[in-house]
Symmetry: C2
């Protein structure tokens, strides 16, 4: 497994403010990794509402099943996350593990089992022994502190080469509210979902159904618009918790998704979702370059997104970018194979501001020298105008390098 930090890692990290009503603690439970934390407990004050979106895999992990069961009630008191074992495809044993963890967490946090949320990430198919860590939960709940966001982000990492955190503020009414989030990748990243795990919390007083609507909408252009390798995890989980503590400072309680006072919060939520999703892409296994794919002029937005994902998931496009080769012919190929309405003779393709192809032919005016210089950058934008409609979409991916193969050819052992 590689330990070199991605060259696309953030140069600086934000200072994470506390979110009133949220406390965290981590531990070295020794589930798989040695000498690092692998267990996170996040504790929420009473009346915290929760929203979530999950993998669309038809073989989801046991914790995903567990969360889906508790989500409709919309209340959360404690989140338990372990890394090193995904508790996926573990059958009856997997359900036994989530049940035991759920019970232990409920006891530790003095709440009902319906207020517990769980996530696991790591190897698939190995039974997870909840006994390794369930006895730690009570102590962790007690010692949990509000200022542990970076520690929390570190404890949930697997092949991530850096921890992923983000914070934004928004106005709710006249009151400042905060949104903090953490995420982890790094392989098996594809819609839908695009992160394996991400947890976001805010002190805004927003009812669970509103939170759910905002989260579902926000993921479409963020977490569900990133792909590392087209492989969808069995465990992908994105949870958003709202403690409501800002109400004490005068923030209005929001119970209607159409409430106009939500506009600043919506923007801020979308921003943090995008930040975390891009941090995941930039830590894609073996990634050396971030690739933004913009498709426009498609028949519809849905069609544009399919074409964009076809480009983003093409191994030939991704290896070309790794090789710093502006191989726009492979973009044509990926447009063609998407199966969406397209017309070769109307297609134009740009790398950055350099138009390489126009209306079905190589653009005779482009400069090989300029484009070669552009391709050495670590953020590449590929734009394709299909020229047949007004649909557009943007997705993000990373290049496909030898390092990806090295990391994934020797993960389980």
């Amino acid at each position: 497994m590689s330990t070199a930090i991605s060259p696309l890692a953030p140069k600086t990290y934000p200072k994470m403010p506390a979110i009133e009503g949220v406390r965290m603690a981590t531990a070295e439970a020794g589930i798989k990794y040695k000498g690092r934390t692998d267990l996170l407990v996040m504790v929420f004050d009473p009346d915290t509402s929760v929203a979530g979106v999950f993998t669309r895999s038809l073989c989801p992990s046991a914790p995903v099943d567990f969360c889906r069961q508790n989500l409709p009630a919309g209340k959360a008191r404690v989140l338990v996350v372990n890394s090193g074992n995904a508790n996926a495809f573990t059958g009856q044993k997997g359900r036994a593990a989530t049940s035991a963890t759920g019970k232990a967490a409920a006891k530790a946090a003095a709440c009902s089992e319906g207020d517990v949320f769980l996530a696991s990430t790591g190897v698939i198919g190995e039974p997870l022994d909840a006994g390794i860590f369930s006895h730690l939960l009570e102590g962790l709940v007690k010692e949990a502190q509000p200022d542990k966001w970076a520690e929390a982000a570190c404890a949930i990492m697997t092949t991530d080469t850096y921890h992923k955190i983000a914070t934004v503020t928004a106005k709710l009414g006249d009151v400042d509210v905060t949104i903090n989030g953490i995420a982890k990748g790094a392989g098996m990243i594809a819609p839908d979902m695009a992160t394996m795990l991400s947890f976001i919390a805010t002190d805004a007083p927003i009812a669970a159904p509103v939170l759910q609507a905002l989260l579902a909408k926000g993921t479409g252009k963020t977490f569900n618009a990133v792909t590392v390798d087209s492989d969808t995890s069995t465990s992908d989980t994105l949870l958003l918790f709202a403690t409501g503590a800002a109400a004490k400072r005068g923030a209005p309680v929001i119970s209607d998704v159409k409430d106009p006072r939500l506009s600043s919060f919506k923007r801020a939520l979308d921003k943090i979702l995008k930040s975390l999703a891009l941090q995941v892409v930039r830590d894609g296994e073996g990634a050396r370059k971030q690739i933004e794919i913009r498709v426009e002029g498609a028949k519809s937005s849905r069609s544009a997104k399919r074409v964009a994902l076809s480009i983003a998931n093409s191994p030939l496009v991704k290896t070309a970018v790794a090789g710093e080769d502006a191989n726009w012919g492979r973009v044509v190929m990926a447009v063609g194979k998407a199966g969406e309405p397209a017309d070769r003779d109307r297609l134009s393709i740009w790398f950055g501001d350099h138009r390489l192809a126009h209306e079905g032919e190589r653009d005779p005016s482009y400069s090989e020298e300029a484009i070669s210089a552009y391709m050495t950058r670590d953020e590449i934008v590929i734009r394709a105008d299909l020229g047949i409609g007004r649909g557009k979409a943007t997705v993000w991916t990373c290049d496909l390098t030898k390092e990806y193969v090295a990391i994934n050819g020797d993960y389980r052992s």
Copy 2:
């Protein structure tokens, strides 16, 4: 570009018999490559019928458009193939090149332009100057010989590390007929089509509509069941020519696809299609192992094939095999992401004869030692039983190695 021959290359090549009515010649036209042949002319006697299947890309190459135009008449006299330039996404210039080549080929073979078939393979988007080679066609038609199958297969290679040929015989009535074929890969190989180029010829007297029906049916379980990297070429072309020369030796002329005398020919055609398709997979860029994916117990055959392709196209499954890691959890993931009916708790997975997972859990009885030994083989069979129906399908792919990334990161330059 790599020049090491695939370890999966054939140990021996068959001796290719002549097909009466088919002659070939090759030349070094210098289109892109130096010091090797890059132009093939295949000449057919009058009354040769032809069938073809092509890429489903919506951005097909100019030669694909050209062939599609001539195919309905069902007659062929000459095939011209060049390597080094795909004449794809070349717009008006591309059409001018196919038109010029078509005219020159028709003149050289003294036939109508409607009897000409063309194929090009290589870089996309570079204009192809037909003037480089069109003047050679007349000489090539004159010097064409029946015993040039291996030479023909060599002239159409691009990143292939070995040439691909196959021959089979069949009975048509009481008469022996022969089918010969050549193919080239090696990247951008995915359904549908799965080869970039393949040309097959027989002396059997079979009418074009029958030939077309046999070819379309035969590709489903062969060329359209292999994938190297999920990328579909703009140029994929499979043509089947029948000279009918065996009629002189008493072979019955077949004009009905339901003719029972076709059974031996059908089997032989399927066999040569499978042989060529697997040769393409085994020369997948960077391939070190052939992977056969068998999915059974699916809701339908169509569903089984989708699941099989989801497994075959998963970078995580392919890198695991490259790393000789029986990572069946990634097979679960790929089943889950296929979006087809599946039930985690009924899923069983084998690598070779080793059952690793059964009814939603790791099979406790499998031997890590035995499976590790199995994974060192160069032909790996992954079998998944979904346990919910009777649909089944088999597809073939290869592993994903660092060499694939190296080859494709530096192809255009």
